[in-house]
Subunit: 315 residues, 4 copies
C-alpha cells in the first residue's frame, strides 16, 4: 500500500483535529480514526466516522432520556439478551463509515450486501490507480474438488510462478492499453498531443478484475455484523476475509460488549435443525444414532457432527 | 411538555459531556444536542446524535483522503450540483438520530417512511404516559369539501368546544380504564392488591390514537430530506408538519449548505410535465393557451398555474 | 367477519377469472386466491397475487435459462442446502401480496417489518369500519410475572367479564363520538345537516387501538419467512400469531418444499452459542455440567436446556 | 447473441406453458415472456415473470376488495394523479423479474440500484462464457471536453480500429489465460490432465471488465421507474441505455397507463428550482431576465433555458 505524500498529509490533517463534542465517543476507535490499515498488497481499510457506542444500543432499546443504564453490567446483560434473541433494531442505532481500497472482483462480492451506503470512485470521471492485486504464493489455491465453491491445496511451485506471471503480465498489459486508449497516463500526462482519448467510461472496460478501486461504505452495526458473520467466516473467500478481519477488529474497539456477544452467539455459535436436535438429544441420553434413521443427508449429518466436534461420527 | 426531574437530570448530564473527538462536528447542532424542543401539547423532538456535516458529502462524492475540498465555495457548488441532478448516495453519508415524543396517529403516518431505524417505547413491557394530544382550537378544522384528504375552515366556537370536550373525556376515560384493567396506575402503584392485572400487550388496545408514544428514530440525510419534503409541505397534516418544521431547523444548523440547496431545488421548486412544458413555452412566447388544447385535466391545469403564480389563468 | 354483498361479489368476480398464462403457477394457492380467511373476530387474510413457486428459487440460484432442474429431488436438495446455509437472494425471487384486515395495535407491531410494500386504508380520506377487536375470554391473559413482555394465566371469570365490558363500551363510545365529530355515520349518512364535520384526519384520533384497519401488504418469500419466524413463534403476541399461522398455511400451499425446509431449519431449529456448545459437548461425552463453570447466566442456561428438552437440568 | 440449442429448448419449453390462473395477466407482456431480446453484441433481456398490472395499482391505492375500478378512465385519472404527486407505495404493488446478460462494467453500474433482488451467475462455481463486449465503431466516442463524465465526438477511423483491436486482443488473451490457469476450457474440457486448476474464485480476476455476466434481477414498478428515469436518460452511458430502452418497452406492454404517466411526468418533465421559477415567471410576463440578477450559476441558467427550449437565452 503506497500513499502519496498529499494523501498522507490529508490523513494527518484529519487526525490532528481536536474537536469538542457532547456526543458519546469511543476512545479506542478514535485512536485509529482515518488511519489506512493495510489489506492485501495495495488495499486498505480506513475508519472515517462513527455514531454511538455500546451505551447507544441500551439507550434506544429502553427509549431512555439518558445514556445507557447506570451500570456496565446491566448494559452487558441487556446487550447479550438482545443478541441472543435476535433483536435487531437497537443494533441499528450505531453507524460506522469506512474508506476502503479493494480489488474490483472483491468489490463485486461486497456490494451484494445492499443495506449500506456506498460512493465508489468513478472510472467515468477519473483514471483508476495503476494497482492490481497479485496473490501471495501461499494463497494460490487450486479449485477444491469437494466444495464446488472453495479452494483446495496450494498450487505447486512451478505452476504457481506461471500463474503469477500470467496475472501480472495481463494486468499490466491491459492497463497500459487502457492508458493508450485514453491517450493519457495514470499520472495525468498526455501520450500523443495530436490524438483524442477514448471516453473513460469506455476505456475502463479493458481493465482486469484485480484492478483496485475504492469507496466510502457506511452501514449500521446490525448490517455490519451480518456482513462480518458471512465474510469473516472460514468459508468466505480469503481476499474478502482479509478486509472482514480488519473490520472485526474495529468493531472490537468500537463496541466491545457487543463484539463479545457477537463472537459468542453468532460467530462461534451454531444452528441445529429440528431433525438435528433429535440426534443431539439421543447422543446426550447415550443412545445410538445412525444416519439411516436420522432423515439427514450425508452432508447435513457431517455438518452437524463437525459443529459439535464429533469427528468419530463423520461418515 | 412536562419532563420529570429525573428526565431533566438525564438530559443535563448528557449536555454536560465534553468529549474530544477527531470526527467532524457541527457547532450549531451541538448547541441544541439532547435538548427537548417542544412539539404540540406534550411532544418533543430531541437530537441525540449525528454523523458528518456538509464536508462529508463532498468527501464521499470525491472519494477523497481528506476532508471536503479546500474552499467552502467549491463545496457549495458541488453540493448544489448534486442536489440539482438528484445524486443520492453522497447525501446518505450523513446520519442523524432523534428522540421523538408524538401522538400515536402521527406515529402511524411517520412510520410509512421505511428507510430509517426505529425503536419505539414498548407498551408490551411498560405503561404508556398519561398524555393525549388535544388540538388547539385554531387547529380544529372541518373536513375540506374540495380536497378529500385535507382540512377546510376552522370549526365555529360552540362546536369546537364540544369536540374538545369529547376528545378530552374519551382519552381520559379510556386511559383510566386502561389502568383499571392493568390493575396498576401510570405511576406504578397497584390498584387492588387482590387482583391480577390484564397483560399490558392487551390492555393497551383500549387507548385512543391521540395517546403519546415515543421513539428513537435514526436516518440518513437523503431520507430525512425525502421525509421533510413531504411532511414539511403545506399539504401535510398540520400535526406532523409541526415535527417536520422543527427537524427542518435542525438540518439548517447541521448542514447549512445542503439546507439551502434543499430549500431551493426541492421545497421551493416545482415539477413540470412534458405537457405542462408546452404550455409554459407558449406563455413565454406570448401565445394564447387554452385548457382545451392542452391535454391537461382541470386539476392539473390549475396546479400548473398555481405553481407559477398565474392566478388569472385559474379555471 | 362480515362482508357486504358488494364485497362478496367483488371477491367472487375475481375468483371467476380464468386467465391463461405462461408464468409458473401454484395450483394449491390458486384454490384459495382472493378468499377472505377469517382471523380474530372481524379480521381476515386474503392472498391477492403471487409470483413464482419452488422452481423459481432453483432457477434463479442457478441463473438458468429454463425452469428449476429436471428432477424434484434435485430441487429439494438445493432448496434445503440454501436454507441451511442462510442463502438469502434466491428466496427473494418469489413474491406474494396479501389483503389483511387487522386491529390497529397489531398493525403497529406488524409494520416494524420494513422490507415490504404497504398500502393502508386511509382514515384521512375515509371513515373506518365500525369494528373493534374484543378478545375471546380464553385469551384474556394476565400480565406474566416471569416474562415482562408476555402473558400469564387467564383472568378469572368475573374480572374477565369486567374487562370485556370495559373494552366493548369504550370502543363503542369513542366510535360513536368519532361519528359525532365527523357529523357523519359509518354508513355515510349525515347526522346534522346544519353542522360541518371535523376533518377526518383529526377525528380518527378518538378511536381506540382495537379498531380494525386494513391494508395491502406485499413482500418476498425471504422477508415473509423472517416475519413468520418471529410472529408465528410461541413467544409472539397471540393476536399477531393468528395472522402468522394463516399465512404459514398459505406458504405451505405456495412453496411446499421451501415450507418444509423452513419448518426444519428455522421454526423447529435452535441456535447454540459458543459457550452453549461446550456444555452440549460435555453432555454428549457423559461429563458433568454445572452452571457455575459454564459462563452462562441462569436465564441462558435454562433456555439451552429447554431447547434440548433437558428438563431435569433446569435451575 | 448466441444461444445454445439447449438454451433455446429451455426457453421454448417455458413459452409453451399454458397455465390457468385467477391472477390478473398482461396480454401484451405474455407475448414476449421468456424471449431473449438482444442487447449490445452478446447480451439480452428476458422477462421471466411479473405480478400485477395497471389495475393492481388502483386496487391497492383504494385498498379495495375487487379489481381496480369499473372504468378504465377512472383508473387512468387516479394513476396520473398518483404519479404527479409522487405517491410511491401503489406502484410498488407490481413486480417484474428479468434475466439479463450484460458486460461486467455495466453490471457494476446497474447494481448501484439497491432496492431490487439479484442473483448473479457465480464465477466462484462456474466458468464464465467466452464473450466480451466490443463497441460498434459508431459508439467509440472520445472523452467529452465539456462534461467530465460523458462522451464527445466519435473517434476517427484509424484510431477507432486500433482501439477495437486492443480491446479484442486483450479480452481474448486474458480469457485464454483464464482458461490456462483454470486448466479447463469454457466448454468444460481439461487442458492438461497432469495439472490442477487454480481456484475459480481466483482465476476470474484475470478477466477484463467487458466480459459478459448474467443475473436474475427482480424489482417493483416504482423502483424500476427510478432505474429507467436515470438509465434511459440521454445522459446515461450508452451501454446501459440500450438495456433501459428495452426494459422501457416491456413497461409499455405491461402497464400502458402507468407508462404514459411516467413518460409525461418523469421522463419528459422537468424540475424548476425556486430561483428558476422567478425567471420563468418574469419571462411569462414579458420582463427582461438576466443571469446577473438571477442568482443562478451559468450552468444552472443554461440547464433551465434548455429545459424550456429557449436557445436564444443560452450564454
Amino acid at each position: 500500500m503506497k500513499l502519496t505524500s498529499e494523501q498522507k498529509k490529508d490523513i494527518a490533517d484529519q487526525q490532528a483535529q481536536e474537536n469538542k463534542t457532547k456526543r458519546v465517543t469511543s476512545l479506542e476507535l478514535e485512536k485509529i480514526l482515518y488511519e489506512a490499515i493495510p489489506a492485501l498488497d495495495h488495499g486498505f481499510v480506513r475508519v472515517i466516522d462513527y455514531m454511538g457506542d455500546d451505551t447507544s444500543i441500551v439507550q434506544s432499546a429502553r427509549v431512555s432520556y439518558g445514556k445507557g443504564t447506570k451500570k456496565v453490567s446491566t448494559d452487558e446483560g441487556l446487550i447479550k439478551y438482545l443478541m441472543r434473541h435476535w433483536h435487531s433494531t437497537p443494533f441499528e442505532m450505531c453507524e460506522i463509515k469506512y474508506h476502503v481500497k479493494l480489488p474490483i472482483f472483491i468489490a463485486r462480492q461486497w456490494i451484494r450486501h445492499r443495506t449500506a451506503n456506498v460512493n465508489e470512485y468513478s472510472a467515468r470521471y477519473s483514471i483508476l490507480d495503476k494497482e492490481f492485486y497479485l496473490p501471495a504464493e501461499e494463497n494460490l489455491a487450486a479449485q477444491s474438488s469437494s466444495n464446488r465453491q472453495g479452494r483446495g491445496d496450494v498450487l505447486a511451485g512451478e505452476q504457481a510462478k506461471e500463474v503469477l506471471e500470467l496475472l501480472k503480465n495481463d494486468a499490466e498489459r491491459t492497463y497500459n492499453n487502457y492508458e493508450m486508449m485514453l491517450n493519457e497516463r495514470f499520472d495525468g500526462s498526455t501520450i500523443d498531443e495530436n490524438k483524442k482519448g477514448l471516453a473513460r467510461e469506455l476505456a475502463r472496460m479493458n481493465l482486469t478484475l484485480n484492478t483496485y478501486t475504492q469507496w466510502y461504505w457506511k452501514t449500521d452495526l446490525l448490517n455490519l455484523m451480518n456482513f462480518l458473520r458471512l465474510r469473516a467466516d472460514s468459508h468466505a473467500q480469503y481476499e474478502i476475509r482479509v478486509y472482514a478481519d480488519i473490520m472485526l477488529d474495529t468493531v472490537k474497539r468500537w463496541v466491545p460488549i457487543t463484539y463479545d456477544a457477537f463472537m459468542d452467539y453468532r460467530v462461534g455459535g451454531t444452528e441445529v435443525s429440528a431433525k438435528g436436535k433429535v440426534i443431539i438429544q439421543k447422543l446426550i441420553k447415550g443412545e445410538n444414532v445412525d444416519i439411516d434413521n436420522s432423515d439427514l443427508s450425508k452432508r447435513e449429518w457431517n455438518e452437524l457432527m463437525i459443529a459439535f466436534d464429533l469427528k468419530d461420527k463423520l461418515i
